[in-house]
């Protein structure tokens, strides 16, 4: 019996020692950080870190009525440090409660800081045990990252939660390249693969400045090199096969009038095939998209069989032109492969890739792209036919 007890005791003690870190800490001893914004002071190594805390203060001693009125409050704190973590640690000296990073959803990086590389910030996410690997990373354009958190939010009490809700809850609709921290880390490890992160910029709403997600920030390795405007994002996502629900505005001429037909994509499948020939490498981009008809400002009936055929041709031409323009513009402005065409070759023909890897950017500049669109109009999102107007 004593032997049995001794063995169980030893086993229990071993089990206790083999645990990771655990400690009892009350939930109200923590100060939840919703998101952080990172700025870099010009010409120095000092980081300016703004943290947004969630303050859920209740009126003490309040009755039931007062409790229902409780709301969340965003509290901002800005510290400086030689590293991001250093700055966050400085917050402990200011706050009675320990800043808690595990629920941070958002990291906003200023344009200047991003131009010098985002690896130091991601490193914090990976190595520190608190932040999650699925935080959303944004680049602030046109203003400091700290200002983004200072701007009054539109729909939610907490600025950072609002940002992450925009991308996570309307994933299909926002049409923004979304990358979680772990995806960025994975893609950084892939050679000649560039990342595009969502951009936050200002928007004036009734004279008041608020934030809007618009366009993408293009990175070469981990350094910011340029921006994609919002209209470039759709062709970019078409090539990346990440389009889920996009709105296509097809312009058409009816008589002398310019008119627009709006279509929404339902499904998309993009296939990219490299073609090797003596003249060099070219890519066949085949896009198969199901769309449905949303609205048109013409009186032409696009639901009739002839109308549909015409609409299909119009849309295919429109999409092809947009994608070709986008590739051309990329070649002109950024002068490197932001789409990961190189990765396709690497996957399909690793031997060839070894030869090409060194001067891939110049090969990309010379490559031809044949875009082929196949649009299928599935239905008209209408419950009725187009509105008829009598003369």
């Amino acid at each position: 019996m004593t032997k049995y007890l001794l063995i169980s005791l030893v086993m229990i003690i071993l089990c206790l020692l083999l645990t990771g870190c655990w400690s009892y800490r009350e939930i109200d001893s923590l100060y939840i950080i919703a998101g952080i914004a990172i700025d870099k002071e010009p010409n120095s190594d000092i980081y300016n870190v703004t943290a947004e805390f969630v303050d859920a203060k209740n009126t003490a001693g309040g009755g039931a009525q007062q409790q229902t009125e409780q709301g969340l409050q965003s509290v901002l704190l800005e510290t400086k440090g030689v590293s991001v973590f250093d700055a966050i640690r400085k917050m402990i000296k200011i706050s009675a409660k320990r800043p808690y990073l595990a629920h941070a959803t958002t990291i906003v990086i200023s344009e200047e800081a991003a131009r010098e590389g985002i690896v130091p910030f991601l490193d914090l996410v990976v190595t520190h045990e608190e932040p999650r690997l699925d935080v959303d990373v944004y680049v602030a354009r046109g203003k400091l990252a700290g200002e983004i958190l200072h701007t009054k939010s539109f729909s939610s009490d907490i600025r950072s939660f609002e940002l992450s809700q925009i991308v996570n809850e309307n994933k299909q609709l926002v049409r923004i390249p979304i990358l979680k921290a772990y995806e960025i880390i994975n893609q950084l490890a892939t050679p000649k693969f560039s990342i595009v992160l969502p951009v936050v910029t200002s928007f004036i709403n009734h004279g008041e400045s608020t934030n809007i997600l618009s366009g993408g920030a293009v990175f070469k390795t981990d350094k910011l090199v340029g921006f994609l405007e919002q209209e470039d994002i759709i062709p970019y996502l078409f090539i990346k096969d990440q389009i889920q629900s996009a709105v296509l505005n097809v312009e058409t001429k009816e008589g002398n009038l310019n008119s627009t037909i709006t279509l929404e994509t339902l499904n998309n499948r993009t296939k990219i095939k490299p073609v090797y020939s003596d003249e060099g490498i070219s890519f066949d981009i085949k896009i198969k998209t199901d769309v449905f008809f949303i609205e048109s400002d013409t009186l032409t009936n696009f639901i009739s069989p002839q109308g549909r055929k015409k609409l299909k041709e119009l849309t295919e031409r429109h999409l092809k032109k947009r994608i070709e323009n986008h590739i051309r513009k990329t070649k002109e402005d950024l002068e490197f492969d932001i789409f990961g065409f190189g990765n396709i070759i690497r996957q399909r023909n690793p031997k060839l890739w070894k030869e090409l890897e060194k001067d891939w950017d110049s090969i990309f500049m010379d490559a031809n792209f044949n875009v082929k669109c196949d649009i299928r109009i599935k239905n008209s999102g209408h419950t009725l036919g187009p509105i008829k107007v009598a003369d």
Binding site: L16, I32, K57, Q70, L72, A102, H103
Partner: protein
């Protein structure tokens, strides 16, 4: 009773009376009625205890015939004459054993002694007050039979016999209790019961050494395979229909005189979750309710522990919105979460205890104190946080779904809570593992307590966490019955 051997009946009435008086130590509760027939001079007396006999029986069917008898006895053997020709009673016995005489008097029978005879007549005349047959409080049924056992063994046995009209139904009577000599009856179906199990039960009951037995729980604790477990390895019920069904599955029922609760053994853990009226309701509905009880079991022991682990150790696993809500509710609460939970869990047990003990008039005051003071007022005064009240309240309601094991549930809940307060989720997992290991190692009369819970075969799960229709129950529970297949038609052996 060992000193009764020195008393032997004699032919003298006076000596016999003196002897019995002496044995009872001149107890004044023992009534003595002398009589002498005016026609034939038969002289004698009757001994009885007034409060235990039916006085009408004694007057009408014993005294009256004896006194009014005008015929002359043909022989001097008055005892045989009286018993065969005079006394009107369907149960009487001629005896000369002093032990039997004493036993009869103290159990409400009447003993008739006649002058000149060394034998007595024991006439059944029991007539004490018994309560009416009612529905057992702890096992209320939505549908189906509502009768419950009483404190009288005879009536209880009758109820079982009325359910199972079979010549194979057997009753084995034993007397337990050195001083009380309480009648204990082992009830089983011959041909279905496993002899090894039956012999084991009988041997265990025979070996009980105790002064007195007043409830079946006494017996249950003596014959349990696992005397130190918090779980009962015997199933206690007060419903004759449940007992009859158990006996038909090859189980053994143990009835104790004076106790309305009956033990059926061997018992399985899953029986805790089976309510008697599961079999009287539609089987989809019954299965759903059974699943609810099982889920309730898991939740009621885990909820406070899990809440504590998530809130005090693993804040990163909570969804942000939930975290913020709990955070806001905890703002300004002076006590740590673990203290809040432990105090509230104990307060709930106090409420249950007070509710069972308090006279019914105080019930209203109790609920006001429970609801207002411990609930609303405590939250408003920020002494406890609202989520804690909700968590403990939810766990408490689920506990009430399983009235049979409220004791083990309370112990497990507090145990897991303490483990969780030391090590977080890790400690909770420790506790759950220990609980599972313990449950799987339990035996009830040699049958695994968790039998058929680790199998997915349809015939094994047919009556566990779901209830399949009655026509599908083609086999009796494994190992328990000698005759595995149920009924002569049975299935095709597809188990």
């Amino acid at each position: 009773m060992e000193n009764l051997d020195k008393y032997t009946l004699t032919n003298s009435l006076d000596e016999n009376i003196k002897m019995i008086r002496e044995i009872f130590g001149d107890d004044e509760n023992i009534d003595l009625r002398m009589f002498q027939n005016q026609y034939n001079d038969i002289k004698g007396c009757i001994f009885f205890i007034n409060s235990m006999v039916d006085t009408a029986t004694v007057d009408e069917y014993i005294l009256k015939p004896v006194l009014d008898n005008k015929a002359l006895p043909s022989s001097t053997d008055h005892i045989t004459y009286l018993s065969t020709q005079v006394i009107v009673s369907n149960t009487l016995k001629i005896s000369s054993s002093m032990e039997e005489i004493i036993d009869a008097i103290i159990y409400g029978n009447t003993v008739l002694i006649a002058e000149g005879c060394a034998q007595v007549i024991i006439i059944s005349s029991q007539g004490w007050q018994i309560r009416d047959i009612t529905e057992p409080e702890g096992e209320k049924a939505l549908k189906g039979p509502r009768e419950g056992f009483l404190e009288s063994l005879d009536i209880n046995l009758t109820m079982i016999r009325r359910k199972i009209r079979s010549k194979d139904l057997r009753f084995h009577h034993m007397a337990v209790g050195e001083r009380t000599r309480t009648d204990v009856c082992v009830c089983y179906m011959d041909g279905l019961v496993c002899e090894e199990i039956l012999n084991r039960v009988i041997r265990k009951i025979e070996n009980i050494y105790i002064d007195g037995v007043f409830d079946s729980k006494y017996i249950g604790e003596f014959i349990s395979d696992e005397p130190f477990s918090i779980f009962e390895t015997g199933h206690f019920t007060e419903k004759p229909d449940t007992v009859a069904a158990m006996i038909l599955e090859g189980r053994v029922a143990i009835l104790v005189d004076g106790s309305p609760s009956v033990i059926t053994m061997p018992s399985l853990f899953i029986e805790t979750f089976i309510a008697g009226d599961d079999y009287n309701l539609n089987y989809y509905y019954a299965s759903m309710r059974r699943l609810l009880r099982i889920i309730g079991f898991v939740i009621t022991i885990s909820l406070p522990a899990l809440y504590l682990a998530l809130v005090a150790f693993h804040q990163n696993t909570l969804p942000t919105d939930l975290l913020v809500t709990i955070y806001a509710a905890r703002e300004g609460v002076p006590f740590p979460t673990v203290l809040e939970l432990i105090v509230l869990v104990i307060m709930f047990e106090v409420l249950i205890e007070a509710g069972t003990r308090a006279p019914s008039g105080i019930g209203q005051a109790l609920s006001i104190v429970g609801v207002l003071v411990l609930g609303t007022a405590a939250v408003d005064a920020r002494l406890v946080s609202a989520p804690t009240i909700i968590i403990v309240g939810a766990a408490a309601i689920m506990e009430l779904m399983l009235p049979e094991i409220t004791g083990p549930l309370a112990i497990l809940r507090v145990g897991l809570l303490i483990l969780s307060s030391l090590l977080g989720l890790y400690g909770y997992m420790f506790g759950i593992l220990a609980l599972l290991i313990h449950l799987f190692s339990l035996r009830s009369l040699g049958i695994p307590y968790m039998e058929s819970l680790a199998s997915l075969r349809p015939q094994s799960i047919k009556d566990t966490f779901i209830r399949l229709p009655a026509w599908y129950m083609r086999y009796r529970p494994k190992f328990m019955s000698k005759d595995y297949k149920r009924g002569s038609i049975g299935g095709k052996g597809d188990d």
